[in-house]
């Protein structure tokens, strides 16, 4: 079963359009949703959770239509961390425990307490005195403490220091050891996604430019650096983006379409995304 299946998803605002998104997250996998600010990542996540109205398309989450009645109870199995929404600022972690205990049937107090200790979060400190990193860690602890099958995280690792980010990425890896568990993670920090994701979905200006297995992306694409004269020998269809400088040309190419006479270097996910987004600049 797929954790998330999206077909032809569209949503228009006055100045922005999320256009015909098709995306599948298989169970047991981690998918990274990448894109610039305003690309449509948060809109996609809100549409997946049916928190905003879609204009067209279909969204299945854990096998159920997200507009069905069944989906409300299915939310028990989905842990969500949002970039910009928190608990009221006068509350503390102890209050959150009692709220969540009465919100989720599977709320695991012991696990929540363990996460608080692991993330060094104080029990009685009010959220208004929390740093952004602490707020994200608390949201993460909440999302993980009700036995979810699917985690959806919107910019959850931004604002966290590298040590904590690494620890959280390990938690996601542990989480997906169970083949029924999946993670959809949007982030600007491509290195994080490269480290843990099985799939990368790249949204650019409201359009999904690709949604592929990370390893396949790394196999398919490469970087060539050569003179302008040599570059003329590279087939046009192989070039997915290029940068022309005074020294020559640096380009993202499809490895299979380039002659073996050229040296093709490894392209990281960040390179692939930047070149594809910028095109011929």
């Amino acid at each position: 079963m797929n954790a998330i299946e999206i077909k032809g998803l569209c949503k228009s605002y006055n100045d922005f359009k999320l256009d015909n998104i098709d995306l599948v997250l298989p169970s047991g996998c981690i998918m990274g949703l990448v894109g610039e600010n305003g690309a449509g990542k948060s809109t996609t996540i809100k549409l997946i959770m049916d928190a905003i109205k879609r204009d067209a398309g279909e969204v299945l989450v854990l096998g159920a239509d997200n507009r069905s009645r069944e989906f409300l109870s299915l939310k028990e199995d989905i842990g969500v961390v949002l970039d910009e929404a928190y608990f009221p600022e006068v509350l503390n972690a102890r209050n959150v425990n009692s709220i969540m205990k009465n919100t989720y049937k599977n709320w695991n107090e012991k696990q929540f307490s363990e996460f608080l200790t692991r993330f060094s979060l104080p029990l009685k400190k009010q959220f208004k005195d929390y740093s952004r990193g602490m707020k994200m860690k608390l949201a993460m602890a909440v999302a993980l403490s009700h036995d979810p099958k699917l985690l959806i995280l919107d910019e959850a690792t931004s604002g966290l220091d590298p040590m904590v980010r690494d620890e959280i990425l390990d938690i996601f890896n542990d989480f997906t050891r169970d083949e029924n568990h999946s993670v959809l993670l949007s982030s600007h920090i491509v290195s994080d996604l490269e480290k843990i994701c099985d799939y990368i979905a790249f949204i650019h200006r409201g359009k999904l430019l690709f949604c592929k297995e990370k390893d396949r992306l790394l196999e398919e694409y490469g970087i060539v650096r050569m003179t302008k004269a040599d570059f003329e020998g590279v087939p046009e269809e192989a070039v997915k983006g290029k940068k022309v400088t005074g020294f020559g040309v640096e380009a993202l190419v499809l490895r299979d379409s380039v002659s073996s006479a050229f040296t093709v270097e490894r392209a990281g996910i960040e390179d692939i995304i930047l070149y594809i987004a910028k095109g011929d600049k």
Binding site: I52, L91, F127
Partner: protein, 202 residues
């Protein structure tokens, strides 16, 4: 919905302790007007809970949890109604305590008047909540100030005339009628608020 109520009560208890003490003190004061004021005053508390929700963008988070729009909206009604009824019950206790020292017992008229005031406060709550849910606390506050002026005038008139009204035999049906009226207004208001809340979905 229980989780939503716990969140609101926790927020209120942390933020409005002095406000709640003030309301409790009012219920001990002699004379019915302060008691009326206390019961009506408490209807403002859900506004604070909504303001804290708005500031933290709680609604966006709640939309990710197993809560329907109806759960979120109705929790504010339950909060408001529990506070009004709780203040009414506390007022009985307070006036009974005062009666021990002043050697006066609570009369049937006291209970009738209190019941009418509670119904009046529930109607205020039912008018207030759709406005706050539709416009938010920032914009809704302006409309609420205008509304509270009208309530103040209405409340004063009610208190002035309530004793006279209750002398009339026909008006002894006032409490059941007022309770029915408050229930109908409350139900219509809640339905309207759920619709307004859903219409806010982008």
């Amino acid at each position: 919905m229980k989780g939503l109520l716990i969140k609101d009560f926790d927020t209120i208890l942390k933020q409005l302790r002095i406000y709640l003490v003030l309301i409790a003190v009012m219920t001990f004061l002699p004379g019915f007007s302060m008691l009326t004021f206390a019961v009506v005053y408490v209807t403002m508390i859900p506004m604070t809970a909504i303001a804290y929700d708005e500031r933290s963008k709680w609604d966006k988070l709640a939309a990710m949890m197993p809560y329907s729009a109806a759960d979120v909206v109705l929790s504010k009604y339950v909060l408001g109604f529990l506070l009004v009824l709780g203040t009414g019950v506390f007022a009985c206790f307070a006036q009974a305590v005062v009666g021990i020292f002043t050697h006066t017992a609570l009369t049937g008229t006291f209970f009738t008047k209190l019941a009418l005031v509670i119904c009046f406060a529930l109607v205020i709550e039912s008018i207030e909540l759709p406005v706050l849910i539709r416009f938010g606390v920032e914009k809704g506050r302006l409309l609420m100030i205008l509304f509270m002026v009208l309530v103040g005038v209405g409340g004063a008139t009610l208190i002035e005339n309530i004793t006279e009204l209750l002398k009339s035999t026909e008006v002894r049906m006032a409490v059941p009628l007022a309770a029915l009226g408050a229930a109908v207004v409350g139900a219509l208001s809640a339905l309207a608020s759920i619709g307004l809340y859903k219409s806010k979905k982008e």
